[in-house]
C-alpha cells in the first residue's frame, strides 16, 4: 500500500486527488503506537510547542546604540523580553504583546562599555580631546547628537578611534572586563530554567571597509565558563576582522573552559557579496578545506531576516519566485561606501548560499553553508520588538514619533536607505524539549529552528521516504513526523526503495495573527552538469484556489483597510497540513528542501505610524505585506 502511494505521489498527483485511496489515520497510527502506554501523551520526548526568542539585541552598552542615546542596560532588556513594561530611552512606556521564551543579548564587543561612560562624561573619556568633543555633541542632543553618533561609528569602521580610548575599552583593560562581567551576571540573574532562558552572548562586529561580516555568538554556558575569557574584538591591535580570528577564539573558548559556543552571521545583503564566498574570502584567503571545515563547525545557523532587510531570496537570483521581492535592501554595503551591483547578490542571500553549499560539498566533502534559519530584531533600543503594531525601530533615534520615517537609515553622496525601509522583523522559533540553555542551544546545533518575520506561525517540517496522505489526518503529527522521518535541519535518512522523498508539512497561524495564504517547498539542487538549480513548489493553500496555466496558485487577495490599518481573516486559513513528495527527484543530485509559509496581507508598521501620528508617508512606501516563516532545510545527499 505504501509503495503504491509513493508511486502515485512521485507521479506528481496532488494529495487531494488520492485522498480517497488513503488508509484511515487510525490504522496508520496503530502500527506506530502499539507499544504505547494507555495515555497517548505519556513518554513524549519531542517538543510540543516552539520556543520563541530573539538572537540579536543591543543595549546601551553597545558603542553605536549608546551613542544614539540608548540608556537602557541589560537588566532592562531582559525584563522587557520577559514581558514587563519598561520606559524606553525616549520616555515612552512599552511592552511586548507576548513575552519571549528566551533571548541572546549581543552587545558589540568593540569598545564595549564605552557608551555609558561617554553618556556619564567619565573623566577618562573627557581627558581625550575626541572624547570631550563627542561628549559635548552627545549632550547637545538633537541633530548634533545624531552627528556625533555617526562620527563615532565612522571612526570605528574606518579604524581611526583615539588610541587611548581604544586601549581603555578593549581586551586587557579593566573597563572591558567589568562590562563583560556585568553582561554575564545580568544574563545569569534573569536566566530562569523552565520559564525563560537568558543566553550569554555578544556580537563580533567585523565590518572591514563597510562590508558587513558581523557574527553573533551564543554560549551554552553560565558565568563559571563565560568569565574565564573576555570576548574577542575586531579593532587592531586587540583583534582582527578576519572570521578566522573569531574561529580561533571559539576553539580556545571550548578548549579552555569546556564550554560550548556557536556563531551565526547576518545581513549578507550589506556585505556586497562577501558573506558567502566560493573562491576568495574578503581577507585574501581561499575558500579551501580549512575554511569550509571551520565555517561548517562554528556556524550552523544564519540570521535570515531582521530589521536591516530580509535575506532569504532576491528577485534577481530567483526571477520565477513571485514572493522573492520581500523587504530587500539593495543599495550598497553597510555604510554605502560602495554601491551594489547584481553580480554581488549571489554571495549575499540565504537561498543562494544553501545552493553554493552543495557545490562546495561536492568539491571538498564538507558543506560550509549547511545552516538552520533564524530571525532576529537586531534592535539597538534594548527592546526586542518585531511586531508591526508595536515596532520601536532600529535605534533610539527612530523610536515611535511623527517624524521618524523621515530619518534615513543611512544617506550619503552615493545613495540612501530611507527610514520607511526598516523591517519590523523577526524572531526565531526553536523546537526544543525544555526551556533551558542546554536544550535550546542543542536545538541550534541540530538546526531545529525556523525564522519568522515577526508573527508566531507554527511550523512543522519532516522529511522521510514513506510519509503518505494518511499522515495528514493524524492526531499525532509530531509522533508520526519524528518516527517516520527527520525534522527540519536534518539530513534525510539513507534512501529506502526507489521512490522520491516525501515531506510531512504543517503550518498553523499565529493565535492572535493573520491567516495563512499558502505553504511552499523551496528546493535547491546541483544537477548532473554541475549547475545549481532551484524551484519553488506551492504545496498547500487556502480557499480552494486552482493553479493557472503556469502552475502558479493565484494571489489570495487583500483585506487590509488602509484607513484603519485592520484586516480580516475572511481569506486564507488557520491551518495547512500536507504530505508532499518531490515530483522531480533525481537520486543522483545533492539537494535541500525548506518550507516557506506565507500569511495573507497585513499592514506594515508604517501604516500604524500614519494612523497614530498622522505621518505623511513617502509615495512609494510599501503599506501592506505578506509576513512569513522560513524553516531550516532538510538535505539529501546521494549515496555513493
Amino acid at each position: 500500500m505504501l509503495r503504491t502511494l509513493v508511486c502515485f505521489i512521485s507521479l506528481g498527483l496532488t494529495p487531494t486527488n488520492i485522498l480517497a485511496d488513503a488508509v484511515p489515520s487510525e490504522q496508520a497510527a496503530e502500527g506506530l503506537f502499539s507499544d504505547r502506554p494507555y495515555s497517548p501523551y505519556a513518554n513524549r520526548s519531542f517538543p510540543e510547542r516552539p520556543l520563541w526568542g530573539d538572537t540579536h539585541l543591543h543595549t546601551g552598552l553597545s558603542l553605536d546604540a549608546g551613542a544614539f542615546g540608548n540608556t537602557l542596560l541589560p537588566d532592562d532588556a531582559w525584563r522587557f523580553a520577559k514581558g514587563e513594561q519598561v520606559i524606553s530611552s525616549t520616555g515612552q512606556p512599552v511592552r511586548l504583546a507576548r513575552p519571549l521564551d528566551w533571548m541572546v543579548l549581543t552587545d558589540h564587543t568593540d569598545l564595549m562599555g564605552f557608551a555609558p561612560d561617554l553618556q556619564a562624561g567619565k573623566p577618562g573619556v573627557l581627558a581625550d580631546p575626541k572624547g570631550l568633543e563627542w561628549y559635548e555633541g552627545y549632550k547637545a542632543g538633537g541633530e548634533e547628537a545624531g552627528k556625533t553618533a555617526f562620527d563615532i561609528i565612522t571612526n570605528f569602521s574606518q579604524m581611526t578611534l583615539p588610541e587611548i580610548l581604544l586601549e581603555s575599552y578593549s581586551p586587557g583593560a579593566d573597563a572591558f572586563a567589568f562590562t563583560w562581567e556585568s553582561i554575564v551576571l545580568a544574563a545569569e540573574q534573569h536566566n530562569d530554567p523552565g520559564n525563560f532562558t537568558a543566553f550569554i552572548g555578544f556580537e563580533w562586529t567585523s565590518v572591514p571597509k563597510g562590508f558587513n561580516l558581523h557574527r553573533n555568538v551564543m554560549l551554552r554556558d553560565g558565568p563559571i565558563r563565560a568569565l574565564q575569557m573576555v570576548p574577542p574584538v575586531t579593532q587592531p591591535p586587540y583583534g582582527d576582522t578576519d572570521p578566522k580570528s573569531l574561529y580561533a577564539w571559539l576553539e580556545e573558548y571550548e578548549e579552555k573552559t569546556g564550554g560550548r559556543a556557536v556563531a551565526f552571521a547576518h545581513n549578507g545583503n550589506l556585505s556586497n557579496g562577501w558573506m558567502f564566498p566560493t573562491e576568495d574570502t574578503y581577507h585574501g584567503g581561499k575558500v579551501d578545506e580549512d575554511y569550509v571545515a571551520a565555517r561548517a563547525k562554528w556556524e550552523p545557523h544564519y540570521e535570515v531576516t531582521q530589521i536591516k532587510g530580509d535575506g532569504e531570496a532576491h528577485p534577481f537570483l530567483s526571477p520565477d519566485d513571485e514572493f522573492a521581492d520581500y523587504e530587500n535592501w539593495d543599495v550598497g554595503n553597510l555604510d554605502i561606501t560602495e554601491l551594489k551591483t547584481d553580480d554581488m547578490l549571489a554571495g549575499e542571500y540565504a537561498r543562494e548560499a544553501l545552493k553554493r553549499g552543495l557545490m562546495l560539498e561536492e568539491k571538498f566533502g564538507v558543506n560550509p553553508y549547511k545552516f538552520g534559519m533564524g530571525g532576529a530584531t537586531d534592535s539597538h533600543t534594548s527592546l526586542a520588538t518585531a511586531e508591526e503594531d508595536n515596532f520601536f525601530g532600529k535605534s533610539v533615534s527612530v523610536e515611535p514619533s511623527a517624524s521618524r520615517i523621515e530619518h534615513p537609515f543611512i544617506a550619503n553622496d552615493l545613495g540612501e536607505i530611507p527610514g520607511d525601509l526598516l523591517v519590523a522583523s523577526g524572531y526565531t522559533a526553536v523546537w526544543a524539549t525544555e526551556n533551558t540553555r542546554a536544550a535550546i542551544f542543542d536545538a541550534f546545533k541540530r538546526r531545529e529552528t525556523y525564522a519568522t518575520t515577526g508573527p508566531r506561525i507554527g511550523l512543522r517540517f519532516f522529511g522521510g521516504w514513506d510519509f503518505n496522505d494518511a499522515d495528514v489526518e493524524t492526531r499525532f503529527l509530531a509522533d508520526v513526523g519524528y518516527t517516520k522521518g527527520v525534522p527540519m535541519g536534518s539530513d534525510l535518512r539513507p534512501r529506502e526503495g526507489d521512490g522520491a522523498p516525501a515531506f510531512l508539512i504543517a503550518a498553523l497561524r499565529d493565535p492572535i495573527g493573520a491567516n495563512l495564504d499558502r505553504v511552499q517547498v523551496i528546493k535547491g539542487w546541483l544537477d548532473s552538469e554541475g549547475t545549481l538549480q532551484e524551484k519553488v513548489y506551492d504545496v498547500a493553500w487556502s480557499d480552494n484556489r486552482v493553479a493557472d496555466q503556469n502552475g502558479k496558485i493565484p494571489a489570495v487577495g487583500n483585506t487590509v483597510d488602509l484607513e484603519t490599518a485592520s484586516w480580516t481573516n475572511t481569506i486564507g486559513t488557520a491551518e495547512l497540513v500536507t504530505v508532499w513528495s518531490d515530483p522531480d527527484f533525481d537520486p543522483n543530485a545533492r539537494a535541500f528542501y525548506y518550507v516557506r509559509a506565507i500569511e495573507i496581507p497585513t499592514p506594515r508598521w508604517v501604516l500604524y505610524d500614519k494612523l497614530r501620528f498622522g505621518t505623511e508617508l513617502p509615495e512609494d512606501a510599501v503599506l501592506t505585506h505578506q509576513e512569513r516563516a522560513y524553516s531550516s532545510p532538510i538535505w539529501y545527499t546521494p549515496t555513493e
Binding site: D174, T474, R475, F476, A506, P511, I512
Partner: protein, 276 residues
Amino acid sequence: MRLLKEPLFHFFLIGAAIFFWFHIVSTDSETVEDLETITISESDVALLASQFEAMRKRSPNSAELQALVNASIREEILVREAKKLGLDRGDTVIRSRLSQKMDFLTEAIATSVVPEDEELEAFLQHNPERYATPTKVAFTQVFLGEDPSDAEIEQALTALRTDQDVTAVGASTLLPASMPLTPTRAIDSVFGAGFSKDFEEVETDQWSGPIQSGYGVHLVQVLAIEPSQIPPLSEIHSAVLRDWRRTMSEDLALAQFNALAENYEIVAPDLSGLLK
C-alpha cells in the same frame, strides 16, 4: 521610633553628613586659591603615579612623573584663570557634570544602606506580582472546530465524560493535545489570549467547556494546577535587594531634589497654552 527605621531617613542623615563634609573641604580649598599658591602634595603625586600605572601597567619613571606633575600644575593654573574669567559659567559640559555629580552622590548613598530583612519582606509583600511564581496548569484538550453547534459541543462532552478515547473526539489540530504543568501565560501564547483564564476554577480531571481559543472552540480537562506563590525571602533575597535599591534610589533622588528645590523660588513663563 518608626522614623529611625525609615531608610529614607537614613539616607537623609548620611546625605546631610556628606554634604556637610564637602562643604568643609571646599571652603578649605577656596582659601588656598586666595593665596595664589599651588601645592602639589606627596599624596597628589602618588595618585598621579597610580593613575599612570592603571593605564600602562607599569610605574612611571621620574621623567614621566615630572611631566605628569607639570601637566597637573598647568591644568590648575589654567582652571583658576578660566574661573576668574567666568569661563566655567554657561558651559554645558561643566553644568551637566556638576548636576551628574549631585546624582552620583545620591546614588552612592542609596547603595550604601543595608536594609533590615523586615524592610525587604515588606517590599516583597508590597510587590507580590514581581516575585510570584506563575500559576501552572496541566491539561488535555479537544478541538471542536471554528464554530461548532451546541449539539456538537454537548455530544462531544458526553462522549468524553463517558470515557471515550480522547483521540476519537473532535477535529484534528496542530495545537498540542495536552500540555504538562505550564505557566498560564505560555499556554495563552500558544492558544491565544485568555484561553486559560478559567482553568483555576474548573474541577480537575473533569471535562469542561466550551472554551474559546484563537482558533475556535475547545473542551478541556484540567489535570493539575500549581497555584502561584511568593517564594520565601531567603530564596530570592538578592533579587529583592536589587529591586529595593533601585526603587529606593529613585525615591531618594526625587525626595532629595524636592528638598533642594524647596529652597528656590522658580520664576518661569507659563507654557501650558503653547503645548496644544
